[in-house]
Symmetry: C2
Subunit: 272 residues, 2 copies
């Protein structure tokens, strides 16, 4: 999925919503059994219900690995079920020395057929390069995350450059890859900061978690960081997946996704 | 596996060798088919051959994930085959927001029954805490890794503290967990630095990759960083797994492991 295709999809669907399939086997709606097969059944219903309103799905590998090898299979089957044209982001936060990252790339890009993978930057360039070797695939690099612990190391200021660690990560990564292959994870919970982050990387897409359950504000993020190409994928997980815990869960998920999409349409409208 | 048990095992076996089961399906010896089942068969032969000479096995998740759900099953079966008393380290380099890290912990500690997992520190405290909630399990936190890219971010110096990022990571992590539950990944390729790292964390175990194929020197690392409790687990992977590509691969692996163990015995002897 190229950057051009992603942008066309965003403007055609009037949406930059990414639905996070962080499906917790313990939180399936009434009537579902607690089995990996039921997780797949639930995911398929959520995808059917939300595909008209989103441009991407983010699959959080932890939720599937916690179910063992059956979970890994459900992760693959979930990705296979996503309709063509929608971006599949493996939220796996991998990163290791070169030859090992190459195997993670094989796992997520070749075996699971994801279009993109989230990568942790701590180990540096050779931990990221093997993912970039797939020219039609994306790296979504952790920059400034939305969790409380993001302040522990990401905000450390360099003695030499006076820039924060997450800024160093972004500046260095932009020398490794163009906006055609690289996005950044930028948390929405500290919206004051998102404006300076946008100035640092005007042409790169940001994957923004933390809108909804994690407390970010969609309008604020959009006002501060939307670009002419949109440049945003905003993720919502729990507010859609668990919009209802009853038999109407799919309709409720569609309603929740549509409501976010309509808010996004207004922001995209203003770019025209 | 407690710290006390690990130390007793090290002094009983006169070894602080960790064998890395980074088994590449493309590098199996002559006579093996290229299948996940053959990887398991190879791993079992390597474990049988090397268990007398090591105290831990490190299973690199990337090599198994690259094989899909069958690979995940082989990872579980490999861990199940490791004899009691030997430490099982899942080299998975995970780390995510709290509720997601909790699921990775469940995957590796409960489903796969590993004793330890490698964790990436970039997302900070709440990404590490859920692993530490398992009081009888270990976090092996990335500090200063052995790959070329380690210089990209890990050596950035803080404007405030004048310490490098990896030192900040270690100092902060030591406030989260005692030496009973926390180890650090410290690469061997820059031995000059390992002495200062040891001074920073005198009581914590270091997992040292990079001896052998990655170019570290076992004697140098041992001289600079061994403690009264040993405090070291030194990993070797390729030099043992692929000591021979012929039918005698298991005997060759045993020989390679024994030769490292004897070198280690001399260092432990000197502590007495």
């Amino acid at each position: 999925l190229t950057r051009r295709q992603l942008i066309e999809s965003i403007f055609a669907k009037k949406s930059y919503l990414c639905v996070g399939l962080d499906t917790d086997i313990r939180q399936l709606p009434a009537g579902f059994e607690h089995s990996p097969a039921a997780v797949l059944q639930f995911n398929r219903a959520i995808i059917d219900a939300t595909a008209p309103y989103c441009v991407a799905y983010k699959i959080n590998s932890a939720f599937y690995e916690a179910l063992g090898e059956e979970g890994w299979k459900v992760m693959r089957q979930t990705m296979e079920y996503i309709p063509p044209g929608l971006m599949i982001i493996a939220d796996a936060k991998r990163g290791d020395i070169g030859n090992t990252s190459a195997l993670y790339a094989r796992a997520f890009f070749e075996h699971l057929k994801a279009h993109a993978i989230t990568v942790a930057p701590y180990m540096g360039e050779d931990s990221v390069r093997p993912f970039l070797a797939y020219k039609d695939k994306w790296v979504v690099l952790l920059a400034h995350t939305s969790n409380p612990g993001s302040a522990d190391f990401q905000l450390i200021e360099s003695k030499t450059t006076h820039r924060k660690l997450y800024e160093e990560v972004m500046l260095k990564a932009m020398t490794w890859a163009s906006p055609e292959q690289l996005m950044f994870v930028v948390g929405a919970t500290q919206a004051s900061r998102i404006k300076t982050i946008r100035e640092l990387a005007p042409d790169y897409f940001f994957l923004v978690p933390g809108v909804g359950a994690q407390g970010g504000n969609l309008d604020e993020v959009s006002n501060l960081a939307i670009t002419r190409d949109c440049g945003l994928l905003v993720n919502a997980s729990r507010s859609i997946l668990y919009a209802s815990s009853a038999a109407d869960f799919a309709a409720a998920a569609a309603h929740a996704a549509r409501s976010i999409q309509q808010q996004m349409a207004a922001h995209l409208q203003r770019l025209a």
